[in-house]
Assembly symmetry: C2
Homo-oligomer: 256 residues x 2
């Protein structure tokens, strides 16, 4: 099993604090040492970093811990291989293009005998159940909506149905973003919180580090963090229900 | 106009020496300061780095100058914006998936009024003529060969025809790789050389740096470098003919 981390905000924000705690789990405080990856949307573009070294030992992870890349949508993943060998092409997040936008996807869980008909233009490059599920999702979205991206409520309904169908094959906690919205589906375990005014101090569970967010934010900032296991010890994390799909836009969970 | 650099080898090789000279042109010794990017195949996976900062000032470029990532196929690009604003989504190289493999593409040149019918699954995310040409190439390859990747001679014929058609709209020097072969098309300017045994010393044209390749290679190593302008002052670079498409496999240009 793996661990997931995502951030969705209303202003471009750096993820250095959360990534520092999260990356410590990649071979440091935890067993997730079979690679890691992170993707940052910046406008319509994506910065995509993957590595099959443990995150604690990776020179790219060290760069990201120091370099405050600002983004409104970030998805990160640390891997404990269950299916697929330890190789770059099996590291999450995965990136594909649909409707002229990049889509980024990461998965925690294990799908058994998930072998959908793949007759669309999206084919896995690696050998994970996760990339297979991502390609299937995009194939089915394209099949339903053709060349025209749907509005958010229609997209939500389609993803609700597709994620439920995939989750019938096993644990399917997943994060998906097109750089505008962030979709999070929980099948077994996922938490979130929204940091907003008045901001307070937060202390990492995995690292000897605190940040007083009131010193580095403005009153209008809003930041949602979605993660497999709560990252901080002194904030209240909300647990997703099994089967729940949430959409985050501009730092808030939506009711659509 | 932009500058291109590619490497194709028979054993995974680092590109630190060539990239150091090349990146110096990105805002240092040259005017190419509107972003840069590099993609390394590693097995079937790709490490993809893009930045809209000048390469000389970019923290990621600094990391790559220090970190010897080993790869058999690398494509790099430094950008002088002609079409499309300075933005991450407009930085080359671009990456898409076709036939279950990643394809990496970079372009030097300027296409005028190139607006092909884009009715396949590949759509540009940014606003460059280059990404439009890449999406068109993949669309047409998929249209000709369906779900079955062709053999190299058939692929070469198709690319020869498609690159010639695109070059009718303007300068189309381009690099394309699926991680197995590297395709290089010249319409106005492109050079290459093959480094092989007996290896000698090479001295960068843009930087005060020499490497004695005989000290860092084995007699079986073979490395082809393809570039817009020769990188070294003491090696013999071959110039491509206008309209020439070359395929490099395992460090050698092929006759197919």
């Amino acid at each position: 099993m793996c661990q997931l981390l995502a951030m969705n905000c209303n202003v471009p924000t750096d993820i250095v604090f959360s990534f520092t705690g999260f990356a410590t789990r990649g071979g440091g405080s935890d067993i997730h040492k079979d690679g890691w990856g992170i993707a940052f949307f910046e406008g319509d573009g994506v910065r995509h970093f993957v590595d099959h070294e443990a995150a604690v030992a990776s020179p790219v992870a060290a760069l990201i811990r120091r370099w405050p890349i600002k983004s409104k949508n970030v998805i990160a993943h640390i891997r404990k291989a269950t299916q697929g060998q330890i190789a770059l092409e099996n590291c999450h997040p995965f990136v594909r293009e649909l409707w002229g936008r990049y889509w980024v996807f990461a998965h925690n869980g294990d799908l058994k005998d998930f072998a959908p008909l793949q007759d669309g233009p999206y084919r896995p490059v690696g050998s994970t159940d996760s990339e297979r599920a991502f390609c299937y999702l995009l194939q089915e979205l394209r099949r339903r909506f053709g060349d025209c991206p749907p509005e958010l409520p229609q997209l939500r309904d389609a993803l609700q149905e597709l994620t439920a169908a995939i989750a019938a094959y096993g644990a399917f906690n997943m994060l998906l973003s097109d750089g505008r919205a962030l979709f999070a589906h929980c099948s077994t375990k996922l938490f979130y919180l929204v940091r907003r005014y008045p901001f307070a101090q937060a202390t990492l569970a995995d690292d000897d580090l605190s940040v007083d967010f009131s010193q580095v934010t403005t009153p209008n900032d809003r930041v949602a963090i979605i993660v497999t296991e709560p990252l901080t010890t002194n904030e209240t994390w909300q647990q997703f229900h099994a089967g729940e799909l949430k959409i985050f836009v501009e730092g808030s969970p939506l009711d659509v």
